[in-house]
Amino acid sequence: MRYVKPESYEAASALLAAEDGIARILTGGTDVLVMLKAEMVEPDLMVDLKHLPGMHDIAAEDGGFRIGAAVSSAELGEHAALKAMWPGVVEGAELIGSTQVQNRATIVGNLCTASPAADSVPGLVTANAVARLHGPHGTRDVPVVEIPVSPGKTMLAKGEFITSIYLPARPVGASDAYLRFIPRTEMDIAVSSAAVSLELDAGGTITAARVAIGAVAPTVRLVADAGAAIVGTKLDDDAIAALIAATEAACSPITDKRGTIEFRTKTAGVLAKRAAHIAYSRAGGKT
């Protein structure tokens, strides 16, 4: 394995594009080095990107935030303004692994590992987050929801990598939340998960809603029907029932050692309900 720290984004994409063997990108390393150790992958080339400009920055941009690809989960949690605007995104990132892992792990790495159970991805999807990709043909912006295509696979082309994630601005009276089910309290992989992002009007009626679910389909899934089910409501019982029904209908999980199809489907609906209540309350709504 060759280890390279390229001098620029352009040099990095040229290097990755020219590699005939297996190439991997190193920022936090908390997934890629585990795969290396387990011999699940034996890269010929390891490209370390975390020294490049902007990689460690959380920068205010057009009312939102641009997060560099090497920013750790711990750094997200320490950024008060970001946490105030997107608490659901940050709480997802802060559920990844242990303190030690959170000091290295990145949301971009979590996204590019493309696990259906990735804890930071549902929150990014409901936030309408956009990834900035750099590749041999320049840069392009792609919504986070489109990045994972199947377990372990992304839509990134050869030579492409993500340099940052953009979290957009949001109006007053908006918030989000993320919940997962695990059989213990910490250090585990989601059996099912849900994120909800809401905007309320001055009277507390929901004017916009996005719901995403994790670990219940080959990729994290945006559930447009679930969001639509609670728009125009204050999360009354009928709205919640419709939210749960739409969420369950969008689940297509597998049965494995962590949970059955039935259990995952049921808990995804419950988590969507609870996350909706938390997001509503954070946005200033009163039920």
Binding site: Y3, T30, D48, A74, T99, Q100, V101
Partner: protein, 158 residues
């Protein structure tokens, strides 16, 4: 495989070593530098026995490449005591018998010290969550939490 020269600072000392590209920081510390305080439990970032400080943050050294530490500051358990004087956490862990076999202890001490630097007066719950990535198979954690709290109280009073 071509060895890569790395210059880093370990426990305040300028250190140079040669390592392979795919060699973990843990293997470098133990096998090349003779710093065997950090232990390999799982090798996959689950157990925390290999915890060290990297640029001021606690990390699993099994999930860091040695070559990544070029220009970095690393602190290990070997740098925790001040000469012959143990750090309060080290001393209280002995006094309170917060260890049995000792494999997890260096990692727990490093992680606990990093918690108290950030939060000198944590609740028991905060200690438990902070140390969730440090597995101990002997003590059942109760003595560990008590020892961290006792050392924290002592350090606050100092």
């Amino acid at each position: 495989m071509k060895m890569i020269p790395v210059e880093t600072t370990i426990n305040g000392d300028q250190t140079e070593f040669l390592c392979n590209a795919d060699e973990s920081l843990l293997d470098v510390l133990r096998d090349r530098l003779g710093l065997t305080g950090a232990k390999e439990g799982c090798g996959t970032g689950d157990c925390g026995a290999c915890s060290v400080m990297l640029n001021g943050r606690v990390v699993c050294s099994c999930l860091v490449l040695g070559v990544e530490t070029q220009g970095a500051e690393v602190e290990t358990i070997e740098g925790m005591a001040d000469g012959e004087t143990l750090h309060p956490l080290q001393r209280v862990f002995i006094e309170e018998a917060a260890l049995q076999c000792g494999i997890c202890t260096p990692g727990i001490l490093i992680a606990a010290k990093s918690l108290l630097a950030k939060n000198p007066d944590p609740t028991d719950t905060e200690v438990r969550y902070w140390l969730a990535g440090n597995l101990c198979r002997c003590t059942g954690y109760d003595k560990i939490i008590k020892a961290v709290q006792k050392a924290a109280a002592e350090m606050r009073a100092a």
